[in-house]
Structure formats: structure tokens, C-alpha cells
Amino acid sequence: MAWLDLPRGYWNPVSETMPRERLRERQFEKLKVQLDHAYAGSRLWRERMDGAGCPPDTIRSLADFSERFPILTREEIITAEAVDPPYGTLPSVDPRLAVRHHQTSGTSGAQPVRTFDTARDWAWAADMWATGAYAMGVRPGDTALVAFGYGLFIGFWGLQYGLEKIGCRVIPTGSFDSEKRVRLLIEQECQVLACTPTYALRLALTAEEMGVDLAQSAVKVVIASGEPRPEATKHKIEAAFGAFCGDTAGMTEAATIFMFECAEEPGGCHVIETDYLEEVIDPETLQPCDYGQRGVRLMTSLGREGIQVFRYWSNDLVTKRPHSDCGCGRTWDLYEGGIQGRHDDMRKIRGVWFMPSMVEDVVRKFPEIDEFQCQLVNIEALDTLVVQIEPKPAVREKDYEPLRQRFAAEVKRQLSLTPRVELAAVGTLPRFEMKAKRFQDLTAAPEAVKK
């Protein structure tokens, strides 16, 4: 494939290939600096450390930290911020040192999480993005199109700065529609596209409708972020663009990314371990998971000075694998398949574990399907997975029913669940630019909502 010729290399060779023993020492050195800073500057952190009996000078090792330091939840951040909005008791420096403010969308009904970055923090955040983009093969002189709304949500803001730092010509397409973005991608001969996986597929479909073959474009790297991305989706994006689709993930609470997929495509993402201490724990027992065991990731940032997080419950489901499973030479461990799903989206349906990303994995194998939605509904006292699929406009009506049946059979084969599959009219299901929401659990909802 064309992307096999992508340039390879390290943005920070020393950090990325640091021997594991030295890496653990470095993590602990930085953790101590972070803890001292938080204790001195943040009321929230000082109270939490004192309350848990673990002020900084008592933390003896990384293992000691993991055993004794309390887990932080999103709700606790929101509560701390509510004390004295916008940032409450959380900040470790005076917010007047901030050079930018971001917040989560709050679309799930909860209060948004608000954060800020100092100039130092923001330079670090951009460097994390640069680390990931460089590993994917982005180089000085490349032209990059960033398909992102540039608002309060942090999204690809850091990538904009990371790409500039690498030395790319960056095209911000905040208010553009998909047709304009496709035109720009071609006119400007962009080598790099950054967007969510969902939106990459939307652009590919738009290009197809415009008669543009993106596989013949200059695009060599698609930087995908913002959603879990099943392998089938990656392959579909790579086929459509004739480019390498690299996965990344970040969060507002971190200001930037914490992992990225390198051009060797190891089937997962490297954790930026010099700048994050990542633990994977069993969500029921809260005990650490071994390599190969799925659990929830707890994040400790070793990067920021303004808003700090220690052992933050991310809700992301991940499986850690050793760095040696990748041939790139980085000594940073991997998350197999990136973020596999959200712990709060995980359901047991008739005894079978289910995550919405599993349905997406099936959908992306059907080129006739444009969009989908799934719901968990209680029908006649049985929890049932209902999947709505929307065929592409080119699919003939006589092919709808066979498509529905083939799709249902494939879901059953792959998920060991019998779904109820419904057909949606062309153009009726919601489209997304950021953070696609395709799953609803209606089993706990009132009858009126279910209907």
C-alpha cells in the first residue's frame, strides 16, 4: 500500500526509546514534582491528599502511589468547580496565568468540565500532538486540513498547534461544509487530513457523490480521533483515501492526546508514558489488570501545571500490551485496538457482553450501509438490541430486505446476539462531525420514551 512508504522516526528519540527501568524512574521523578505542585497550589488536591493520608512526602514509589492514592471521578471535578465557578478548588496556579479556556460539551446532561492552560501547558499539549503526528509520518512541509469546529470543545485545537510546530501548512476548516472540504483537500493537495473516523467516512461519501476519487488524492495520513475506532472502520477509511489512518485519543481533562498509533500499525496505540502514568484496573474489583486483560484506564498526567489530574477514572475500556509487540522501537506500551469502548456504554444483553463499537465493526463491512443507530430496548420482558441501518442512496429498494437480512445474520454471527434490524429511510439518521452518538439504552426509560 502507498502508506508503506511513509517516513518513520521519533519526535523525541530519547523519551520514545527510553529503557523501561529509566522510564519508570523518570515517571516517579515527574510524579513527585506534580504532587508537590498540586499540594502547594490546589485546595482540592491538598484536601484529598491529607484526607487520604498520602501527602506528597509519604509517596515512596509508583506502586505506593497506585495502592494508596484515591481515584478521582468526573463528578468530583464538577463538584470542585461548582464551589467557585468556573474552576473552583481544582487549579494549582492562578487562572490569570491561563492563555486559553476549554470545556466539555455537557451534551450528556451533566455539567461541563472546564479547564484552562498556561502558556507552558499549551506548549506541552501541542508537543504531545506533534509526537503522535510525527509517528504517523507527518513531516515539515506537509499540508494538513483540519476538519473541526474550533469552538469551546478542545478537540483538534492542540493538533493545529502541533502541526504548526512540526512545520506543516495547516488549513483550518471550521465553518466549511463537506463539499468545500473535499474541494480544498484536492485543490491544496493536502497530505494530511484530521477529523473523527465518522467524519472521514462522511467526507469519503461526499467525495464519491461529487465524482472525486480520494484514493487518487495526495492524502497520505488520516489522523483520526474523538471516537473509538474499530478495525473495520480504519480499513474502510484507508481504502477510501488510499492513506494510512492513524488512531489517537485525548480528553479535555488532559488537554491533549495520551496515545497514538505509529506507522508500523501494531494493532493498537502507544501510550505516551513519559508524560502520563496510565493504570488499567478491573472496574469491579479495582485491582490492576495484567497485559491482555481489559479494564478501565486511570490517567495521571505528568504534563500540566494549571489543572492537574491524578488517577482519573476515564471510563475508557482498554487492554494493555507490551511495547515489544510493536516493531517501531518505542519503549512505550500499547493499548490494543485503542479505546475499545466506554465502561458506561457496556451492557450485558441476555448474558452476552455488548459494546456499541461492536455493531460499528459489523456495519463497516457493509459498503451499502451509510449510517446506523442502535438501541437497547426491553421487548416482552427481554432486553433486545435494535439496530437501524440506513442504506446508501445508490442501493435499489428491491435490495433493502436482503441487505437487512444479511446484516442481521452477520451481527448474530459476530456478536452472538440476535438483533432486531430495521431499515431507515435515506438521509434520516443523524450525522456527526464530532463525538458520534449512536447508542441509547432505553431499558430504564419510561414507556413514552421507548415509543
Binding site: R8, G9, Y10, W11, N12, P13, V14, S15, T17, M18, P19, R22, R26, E29, K30, V33, Q34, H37, G41, S92, V93, D94, R96, L97, T118, A119, R120, W122, A123, W124, A126, D127, T274, D275, E305, G306, G327, C328, G329, R330
Partner: protein, 66 residues
């Protein structure tokens, strides 16, 4: 350390220069000339990131200015 790709490292002289620049910028970041302190703080953020990436000095320094 064996690694798959080229692994350029700072020479001793470059490392010293990077650390010296950091100290110089830290000094200038408190200058009373607004444009100079602003430039120094912006540059300092970048140099601090470079030091961190090279596994060298690691500091959370902005509280110096409050």
C-alpha cells in the same frame, strides 16, 4: 539502546546551550518591558517542552510570576 529508526541525540554542547537558554529566558520572563517578558514566556514554554522531551530538566515554573 537499539531502536529501529535513526536516533539522533543532542551533543554535550547542544545540551548545555538548551539548558543555558532556559535559564536566560526564565530571567527575561520577569522583565518589566511587556514585549520582552511576553516573548520570553512564549519561548520559555517551547524550550521547557524541548527539555522535557529530551529527558532533562522538568519544572512547573509559572507560579514564579504570581
Amino acid at each position: 539502546m537499539s531502536s529501529k529508526y535513526a536516533r539522533p541525540e543532542l551533543s554535550a554542547e547542544e545540551q548545555k546551550a538548551l539548558e543555558r537558554i532556559y535559564q536566560d529566558l526564565l530571567l527575561l520572563a520577569s522583565s518589566e518591558v511587556p514585549s520582552v517578558s511576553a516573548a520570553a514566556r512564549a519561548a520559555l514554554a517551547q524550550v521547557a517542552t524541548a527539555l522535557n522531551g529530551q529527558g532533562l530538566k522538568y519544572e512547573l515554573y509559572s507560579t514564579n510570576w504570581t
